[in-house]
Symmetry: C2
Subunit: 249 residues, 2 copies
Amino acid sequence: MQKSHERGGGPLDTARPKHVGKNGDGAERHEVIYQTISDAIIEHQLRPGARLREDALTEVFNISRTGVRKILQRLALEQLVTLTPRRGASVTRPTASEARDVFAARQLVECGLMPEVARRITQDDVRELKRMAREEREALSVGAQSRAIKFSAAFHERLAELSGNATLAAFVRQLCSRSSLILAVYGSTGHLGCESHDHDDLVDCLERGEGTNARAFMQRHLKEIEASLSVVEEEASAPDLHQIFGLDE
Amino acid sequence: MQKSHERGGGPLDTARPKHVGKNGDGAERHEVIYQTISDAIIEHQLRPGARLREDALTEVFNISRTGVRKILQRLALEQLVTLTPRRGASVTRPTASEARDVFAARQLVECGLMPEVARRITQDDVRELKRMAREEREALSVGAQSRAIKFSAAFHERLAELSGNATLAAFVRQLCSRSSLILAVYGSTGHLGCESHDHDDLVDCLERGEGTNARAFMQRHLKEIEASLSVVEEEASAPDLHQIFGLDE
DNA sequence: GTTGATTTTTTTGTATACAAAAATGCGATT
DNA sequence: AATCGCATTTTTGTATACAAAAAAATCAAC
């Protein structure tokens, strides 16, 4: 592999200030790249198990391995990618038990947040949420699954933000990202995540200030999503011979 | 302070493992260092606002800046340290609103977990929790505040683990760490966190399988901790002159 | 003596060099 | 012809070099 830098007269050698001058927008650039990768994972353009080689990423985004590693580490802490000691990074493939945990966590947190959201929601918020729900529905009707998935996650995230609790909102954000991975692994094709009109109905509920009702609604909603999954431990990659043949422990 | 690295141009003399050979235990070493720093923060040996210069850490732990930065980044994602773009790392000083959010999150999650914990707890767990509660009490009676704080956090963390939900347990772990920072900033001296016998009583509750009761207990317990804080926006570092004199906006 | 500008030092951001480990390909041997 | 051992290649882990920015210190002027 060539060094990715002094390639002889590559077409995009303009606007590349080597390694100086990036300081000003360096952090911002990293943030953008992080978002790009993150989105690609959430939208299932990068499926669980996909390898993310550092070299490839340096070439694609034109940053050094230092930056790549920083971004990968962040994604790893958010559980979107898995960093295996000497094997590099790959998109996380959630286990069945992780999937259960994530949905149980969503049940607890997202539902628990609904009363407070119902109390604080404004007309503007209602409009925004309805717009998001509509965009999701439209994406779905056009068959743009990946965009629908992203909108769906964004909807749940925004809802959590409206609680006013930044810590819990960030947690929900993570849970939604991981849910997208879970959908990719355990979801039945064609049926993804949220039912078309659930989100609209939920917003109606909140608009009327019915917190308890909204909570029950969200509970049912999440339960439905989880029920639509086939969460079975598929261990295609490394069948546990020991367990199968029962030779020890 | 000698740089611990610059030997005056000697031809790579012996007895200096340079940067080889560390690979085997490198990751493990990083983990240990991470824990060490993390503990120091949680135990208030490093107080909020304390600066963590990379150079200093390199010297203390004898690793390169690469490793230091990795560790700092992890601590930053857990909100234990704050990474300011060109000012380096320092122990996070939680804002008042962050403090409120963290405690609200604990109310929601830790309380919500109690019924499940009550269902799953075993005699062994009960023994372990009582031991932890006792250690905390003892540390407190000896005046070892920092150890008491750590034990208290460990108790809450262990409790969350017993729910069987790794995701939520990890979240609670983070919340407890951050709570320790909050105590350091907003806690009245002498009164730290959990009342002596609260934890014992809570375990009794769980032992009897009274989930609903345990939840109510935890709710009261957390409320008491929060009430003991004086959460007021103290902005000693940079008094907002604009606001004080009302010259603009 | 205090304030303001300039230089010096410290400290972080980034890239890259080098080494170890894993993956891969190749050939010899049975 | 299939498999195992060995060499090559890729890929990651770590340290360090260099540059930019911020902080500190020095010095001059009033």
